[in-house]
Symmetry: D4
Subunit: 248 residues, 8 copies
Amino acid sequence: MTENEIRNLLEQVRAGQVSAQAALERLRRLPFEDLGFAKIDHHRSLRQGFAEVIFAPGKRPEQVVSIVRRMSRNRHNILITRGDRRLYRSVKRAARTARFHELSGAISIRKDKRIVGKGLILVVSAGTADIPVAEEALVTAEVFGNRVESVYDVGVAGLHRLMRHHEKLLEARVIVCVAGMEGALPSVVGGLVGVPVIAVPTSVGYGASLRGVAALLGMLNSCASNVAVVNIDNGFGAGCLASVINRL
Amino acid sequence: MTENEIRNLLEQVRAGQVSAQAALERLRRLPFEDLGFAKIDHHRSLRQGFAEVIFAPGKRPEQVVSIVRRMSRNRHNILITRGDRRLYRSVKRAARTARFHELSGAISIRKDKRIVGKGLILVVSAGTADIPVAEEALVTAEVFGNRVESVYDVGVAGLHRLMRHHEKLLEARVIVCVAGMEGALPSVVGGLVGVPVIAVPTSVGYGASLRGVAALLGMLNSCASNVAVVNIDNGFGAGCLASVINRL
Amino acid sequence: MTENEIRNLLEQVRAGQVSAQAALERLRRLPFEDLGFAKIDHHRSLRQGFAEVIFAPGKRPEQVVSIVRRMSRNRHNILITRGDRRLYRSVKRAARTARFHELSGAISIRKDKRIVGKGLILVVSAGTADIPVAEEALVTAEVFGNRVESVYDVGVAGLHRLMRHHEKLLEARVIVCVAGMEGALPSVVGGLVGVPVIAVPTSVGYGASLRGVAALLGMLNSCASNVAVVNIDNGFGAGCLASVINRL
Amino acid sequence: MTENEIRNLLEQVRAGQVSAQAALERLRRLPFEDLGFAKIDHHRSLRQGFAEVIFAPGKRPEQVVSIVRRMSRNRHNILITRGDRRLYRSVKRAARTARFHELSGAISIRKDKRIVGKGLILVVSAGTADIPVAEEALVTAEVFGNRVESVYDVGVAGLHRLMRHHEKLLEARVIVCVAGMEGALPSVVGGLVGVPVIAVPTSVGYGASLRGVAALLGMLNSCASNVAVVNIDNGFGAGCLASVINRL
Amino acid sequence: MTENEIRNLLEQVRAGQVSAQAALERLRRLPFEDLGFAKIDHHRSLRQGFAEVIFAPGKRPEQVVSIVRRMSRNRHNILITRGDRRLYRSVKRAARTARFHELSGAISIRKDKRIVGKGLILVVSAGTADIPVAEEALVTAEVFGNRVESVYDVGVAGLHRLMRHHEKLLEARVIVCVAGMEGALPSVVGGLVGVPVIAVPTSVGYGASLRGVAALLGMLNSCASNVAVVNIDNGFGAGCLASVINRL
Amino acid sequence: MTENEIRNLLEQVRAGQVSAQAALERLRRLPFEDLGFAKIDHHRSLRQGFAEVIFAPGKRPEQVVSIVRRMSRNRHNILITRGDRRLYRSVKRAARTARFHELSGAISIRKDKRIVGKGLILVVSAGTADIPVAEEALVTAEVFGNRVESVYDVGVAGLHRLMRHHEKLLEARVIVCVAGMEGALPSVVGGLVGVPVIAVPTSVGYGASLRGVAALLGMLNSCASNVAVVNIDNGFGAGCLASVINRL
Amino acid sequence: MTENEIRNLLEQVRAGQVSAQAALERLRRLPFEDLGFAKIDHHRSLRQGFAEVIFAPGKRPEQVVSIVRRMSRNRHNILITRGDRRLYRSVKRAARTARFHELSGAISIRKDKRIVGKGLILVVSAGTADIPVAEEALVTAEVFGNRVESVYDVGVAGLHRLMRHHEKLLEARVIVCVAGMEGALPSVVGGLVGVPVIAVPTSVGYGASLRGVAALLGMLNSCASNVAVVNIDNGFGAGCLASVINRL
Amino acid sequence: MTENEIRNLLEQVRAGQVSAQAALERLRRLPFEDLGFAKIDHHRSLRQGFAEVIFAPGKRPEQVVSIVRRMSRNRHNILITRGDRRLYRSVKRAARTARFHELSGAISIRKDKRIVGKGLILVVSAGTADIPVAEEALVTAEVFGNRVESVYDVGVAGLHRLMRHHEKLLEARVIVCVAGMEGALPSVVGGLVGVPVIAVPTSVGYGASLRGVAALLGMLNSCASNVAVVNIDNGFGAGCLASVINRL
């Protein structure tokens, strides 16, 4: 039952064709979303901005391409996460402007290149092995309409490398901070800036890294109080949340 | 906005005092629950049957008593979980029929003694130290209007004790099975009967019992396929669910 | 020693050919099951209803087929869990009516299509990646003689999708609720209905999902009190237990 | 070496009293902070806004009072976290305007009541036992100069209670979402709004709640992509981060 | 139905007062234990040898004394575990020969001082803090009728202390090996002897000892292949099992 | 320095060619093992009985064959654990009497078929998937010179199957009890017999079985006090320890 | 058998009173330590330097005092760890020069004030709550004869505070680095210096700090390769090891 | 801004071309590293001695070779960790003196064969399966300019094998101790020597070894106080730290 149908129902009440009691009965049986939730859904699509997202794992290339084709009818950007070069080739045939981001496996299709985020989103990562997750965050924020830059390979055991980028840190409006192993980077970065830091632990490491749990725990215990944490390896989530904040 | 107000609104539409469009606008802004969710809440109270529940920890005696007084105006049974003798004395003054269940700390006030459950709920427990949790399940099921019996101290290392109660096991319609340590009882009981077994791990034990996690894991891995598990020490939850099943 | 042999022994006592003392000695040495346990076993087969189950992993196709052939002599339904298309082809040759359920790998052979469950079993799942586990629960409940329906892809971050199926939720007699990641769906569903909810955590997710442990813990801590939990990815167990409850 | 000393050194260079080489040597040996880090520290105090924070546990009342006295010379607000009524009485004597927040043990001294946050910070919590943590977040955000409101006791097993506050949820610029047990609330709230949601797991619960770890894992696995998480019971951190975001 | 009753039934069959069929019916309904399980129970008391055991925690002194009084009618030894000096005083009044073992809190009453174990049970422990658990094992084995000796304070970081007792190690028929912290002692002892070593991890330690889990894991991974492990702090269980082995 | 050399040294002292002091000096510098440890090693080989053991994983077939060839010069039995059919073929060429045990991958070469264990070692296992581990225990005990029998597929959810073997359980001198999932079998078996039960958890199961940790914890918390536990899947260790006990 | 006895034995051989063979027999039966291990023990006391250590918990004051009295006969320093003011008063009466270190509860008695460590041991700690553990390390290193200094309250979220002490960091020969919460300090410090860093995680924190496990894991995963870790809160161990290194 | 530029600036001040104030402003904006951090970096390269390290996993052979080529211009040794034979062949073509260490996969290129470590680094390992990690430590220490020896296969269940190397243990200046399973070796070795012991847990084992966590916990709880621990399988880190200590 769409908005139109409800209006029709009300017109019938007005016209005396339907009693108030009968209308009440029908309204009560309305699927939930027809009134209130529709509004939510609307906000939901507002929130997603102008990007649609496809999580590639578990989907066959032809399924992904078919979703891309259907999405392509509107003017939204499209982001495919955790794909590979083979999937990229299939997508490329359906969407000429698709770009492949090799380290993260992300595929982006940007139709709408407007910048809607108010400031710079900076993606900082600790080791070279963390770059795939950092790239996922970066591409996500980009596809969602933000100005994004990155500072890679600035682990805390080599502070001078991080400090070389101090001005850039101070320029950012939101920082995404990606680190595996001991996950100490967000605490150090959080102490250097006055903006929100979204920490992304990665599963980089071995042994006592417990597939990222060590980094995760480290970040949750950060002594900097402008840090919040997302799931291990969740570059996409960090990019999303950074976009939501940057649009405020 | 209650049902009456909606009916009034519709009557106003019908009377031509409000346009369909304006009514649509007002309906759209309705608090959610006014239509659909009210119905849910109704079902909710139906589900709770004729018992109200108060979780005592963190509440002062006078707070509990004041809730009991307010609840006492309708004819529902009242269950207070995890109380103590001191709380019981306070409650007793407000509700003469209150009974104290010493091992579990439960306090029950039964105004409505009808039996609504269709069969017998049997509470089985492994060791003497598991009895407080078992008693909580038993009192809960009783207050919710069920015929309840118990078989205690029938751990799996002494099968003959359990077997002495074989007829009783076969008589039950729902079984709540409470055990700490290795948590093996639900598997054995589940293999002996053809009805649902709700397993409650307890924090009884020490060392590698990991405060009930060993029993919990054991029950989740049960090789009997009529077993489901609730939280550690959650006698209340098991009694609740047993009631819900027994009313089907 | 079968029932007949015991009767013969008693006849010999009666005929004075065996003394009471000697009979007592022989009875005392009886294998356990000959008296009491036989009865248990009988109940056991009653419980299993008219379905036999084969867990495929670790068995070679020819082994499975041979078990299927032996089982086929009676009129029970047969369920093979966690198989694959190759196994299906082998089974198909032995049992023409075998059906393959691709996502879960289940293979079902329904000879007896009577419905013995009293109401509707509804299988609800959160994300598309949870569907294989949900399908296993669904096929299990179906093979065990129940009317089953499913509502998929209704995660809690998009409540309106769940709410669209509110009537269906209220119609069910037992609900199986399948979810990975944060495992929040059973709490929400449990709050909307007055019937038992069997929660199945799935290993869907990554990082801090800890292969389903996050969802498992979430479900065990559910604030809805009509929820019980089975093992991670245990669609079969949930379908079984739902059948046991639905036959009450 | 202060800024003045550096200026003096440069003046001496200018006056020819010190060679460029000698000045270079002395500059090279400067303690780090004299140049660059001072700038950081400056930003740091900017970030803290106009509030100073004292973590009470492990400090004796007279120590806290003495810190409060020293801080009171400037015009900053003061927040003392995790205190108690006894500490409050001591502080009250030193700072007449001190207020005690009983559930969380926070003590706030607001000299500067300007609102610097741009929108509403809404603190939402699931159960009554989560309120102390929620209150800590609320008081923190308030002391840091934000307009703050709260919605308590809206657990996901009773959706209608949450939905009653839907308009309020949509009004907020930042949401702090506090929940123990299964920690499902942030996913549901995150799906209803388009702003950042800071999730705070609490140690509320027992058994498989593992002192808040279950809620923590649930929140990290949230299927809503505008959610980030802070440490268990860390209401202060959530209030801080919400302030940092709300000032953007 | 006791053995006598079954004999009577058989006599009635013999006398023609009961038909074979009727007797069969009655036998089929026998409580399980009346035939087979009685035998088990008999073996069970045989196994326990001549000692009865009372686990003190959770029992009031008068309860323990009353159990002791009842047990005292036969000639079995009595062991009370995890008691304290106050309980001891109460027990002492009921049983003059009661002895208190201060470190473990065990109370032993030995009426039957025969030695039934075939060889020496040696209890070896690593640090002074492990002695309470070692003492519990020692007293248990003693009460169960074994010759027992102890070697304390021989941690693996001071091999020479252990080696001083090499002859004693070689003399033992069963060794109980008690250690906290890294739990390495059983591996070293196991490598020095050719008899079974029962390893008991203790909760001695702090931090990464995880309340005995570190020692437990160490012992389970022992590179000596004559080592098996019981629960953390389970001196009683180790003493029991050592007795069972020593009686073979 | 061998025994001969020490004797020579002492003869030199006796002959006056070396002073007591100089001899003392040389003795003090002796490598440890020359006196005491040699003795230990002797005991060690005594302990190993007449079997040598090769752990196959990580060794190339030619390495294993070469070790087998070297070992074959004495009359000891040889046991190769965790091999495969390909390795077996290589070994077979070097040792005609080698036998392959397919489920466990064990390869046994029995030259000495004497039985040195005093009684029966019984290997009991819960599910069909536990049989490989059970077989490893069985073959190990056999190669070490014991009479061994097995009872498989007697999980606790089908007690009647276990009870059918009650006589056999009572006949055993040592029982090895192998189970995955909830690991409840050792508690039940331990309660039925009066001999030592060595419990072997297996990694059989999924989800909350945590690769055998659930079964391990269950067994460590066994309420039967004649049970001790070895590492997950450690059939070899259980067979070894059973042999050590059976030789007492 | 002491060294003298061995010499006597050899003299008897020399005098022809004992045959070489008989002497060999007696030597072979020597307790282990009489030859080789004595040497080890000697090295052991060398290693401990001139300090004896008493771990106070679980000892009564009079026991500690009595040990102190006995130790006082030689010239070694004495360190009592984890004591309290009450114990200190007792010790003070027995040893006039005893000093109490309030935060850590250490009591030190320094008779020998020589410095044997070759360089400076620097103890660095992150938060004020970490100081008790840091103090334990500091006092330990001091008592063991080292020059020790400390730098406290230099958490990684305020780098400028750490950097103020950069010269001191570069002066140290061994660094002990104490931190709770995310445990990031050793990585940062390790990256700034070229000497060994001994990392001590503390149990400071709450929630996801898991009583120091988060800090422990962080330190084990340090990206600086001159860092090794000791147990949580093990200030004593760190001070010991630092002394061992500093004496090289 | 390089040192030269700062000198130029100071010369301009001296020449009166730039005011002190303007110079101060420019100095204040200097990138951090230009003054202080450069010094750190210098120390850093000093620390790394004359070896450069490449972590091979995740890098393609041609990338590694290109880094080797670039590094080869100076006279530093080069260490490639966790490579394989195929990578070795590529590297060999670029660097004729490259050597392959098969068990660990390390590739070393030693141009500078000077020994800078002051004493012997001894690498001790428990089982044959631990040798790859031990070899990584050994090659690392060698490439970093140390005299290194190894003692392999000396598990604690066969003390006599360890004792055979007692003299060698006493000769070492630093010991790296590698062990999986129960990780007991460092405690035993630590008790025998007076020098630092760096413990490396390995992931060798199965079941309750939890991929090295059991060994890690064991080592952290070592009762020897000259032991510190690095990450599981981190042979490289141990070799590094041993070098840092050995150069003191």
